[in-house]
Point group: C2
Chain length 259, copies 2
């Protein structure tokens, strides 16, 4: 019997050309398809929730696929562990309703951008953060971030190379905090434009180093012009944290043990 399964997937994106399958290069989706095909013997193609860019990491991306394989979903994380590279981990697997699509339903996505703020780089955090050695005023970054909360046209925070027309998005929550030498920018929204979190982070960096005044963020949004915002910070500092489907209603199959 065909069942739809939702995987939650964590990965270190350093060595991958992003999520989406591309010929001849390693991708997260490609590795998942390969491991699932080897395990089930079926020609599985997963559907991802966030098609993260090259070098971006994740603690909880979502991949959905249909299978008639009799292995219970709950056993998949263990079964896939030996078949996936060490830097990709299936955190959980559950049965979802047959019409569930991970992008075409209400959800909230959370991303974290990390800036390692010290004179000297730290090789143990360097893969998962952007090193900035100058002084950063976190209070100013918080002030600037507050202007981004809410529903806006985020054209100024979208890479030029996009064919998305509607650039209105809602940021439900945005926070900036310092934990030791690490500054963490967390953003939760109903969807993000191309490079949006990395451009937001570059703009907050400029608020932190004094190149932009926090209140200027208001006019940056209103200008709807990519040139007004700060730089696109490097991919390696970005981690997709989680995708929350609470607002999509009940997406789960009642009986998680049925096959």
């Amino acid at each position: 019997m065909m069942k739809r399964i939702m995987l939650t997937v964590a990965y270190d994106g350093t060595d991958y050309h992003g999520w989406q399958v591309q010929p001849g290069v390693p991708t997260i989706e490609g590795e998942l398809n390969r491991a699932l095909r080897a395990l089930t013997g079926e020609e599985i193609v997963v559907t991802g929730a966030s098609r993260t860019d090259a070098g971006v990491h994740s603690m909880g991306n979502v991949a959905v696929f249909d299978t008639s394989c009799p292995i219970p979903a709950a056993n998949l994380p263990r079964a896939l562990d030996g078949r996936l590279p060490e830097d990709i981990v299936v955190v959980s697997a559950v049965y979802v309703k047959p019409d569930f699509h991970p992008r075409h339903c209400d959800h909230r996505k959370t991303y974290e951008y990390r800036i390692y703020n010290d004179r000297i780089r730290d090789p143990q955090t360097d893969r998962y953060s952007y090193h900035y050695y100058g002084d950063l005023d976190v209070e100013k970054m918080k002030e600037a971030a507050a202007f981004l909360k809410g529903t806006h046209d985020f054209s100024s925070f979208c890479a030029a190379a996009t064919d998305v027309e509607d650039k209105v998005r809602t940021i439900y929550d945005i926070s900036v905090c310092r934990e030791g030498k690490m500054i963490k920018i967390r953003v939760t929204g109903n969807g993000f434009l191309y490079n949006m979190v990395r451009i937001i982070s570059g703009t907050l960096l400029f608020a932190g180093n004094g190149r932009t005044l926090p209140e200027e963020v208001k006019s940056i949004i209103e200008g709807k012009d990519r040139q007004l915002a700060g730089p696109t910070l490097p991919a390696k500092g970005l981690t997709q944290i989680e995708i929350d489907y609470t607002e999509a209603g009940d997406i789960y199959e009642n009986d998680q043990t049925v096959m």
Copy 2:
């Protein structure tokens, strides 16, 4: 004028065959020699404080060398940054007295072994910790660790492949703490035998999972037999934290700006 310089070096050891130069494979010492030779034009060979094993990381290993290069020591971290691979960082550089040797003087070394204790691996901590999915009782690990403090013959905690005869060492401090899903074992001593911290960590793991009683550590020490202690945990969980030369007296040149 010839000056002796002490570098403090941090590295992600994952992709290196340890500290010590070996033909045909990348090593930390080899990369430092190469970068310093390119910068100074001199045939520099550094002397390391801890010749860490393949896969072991460091936040503060020490390398000493002599040079007549006119670049002030304080500028070396920046000057070397572009010449070293991204996973090796020179944290600081200072002038030391001409007779200072990083191993042949009193010092305290601190190591940390990290156990990521959760059902599922986390790809962002996986390079710098050992994943153990079973239950671990940190209180029992602390009890067991307490027996290791002090001066003992640590033969039971030394890999067989060693030609060191005197296996008496002093552990000044040993602590076990849990931070979220990470268990950190910190050990400070006047020197460590081959694989000693990794065998100590394996023994504390056995105390944590109930395979060994904490008080058995006393008889493991007294038995002076490697077979009595726990397993050697993998290199990737081990990070050398710092080397403290306070007890060596004044090792620094008074004038750090002289050349």
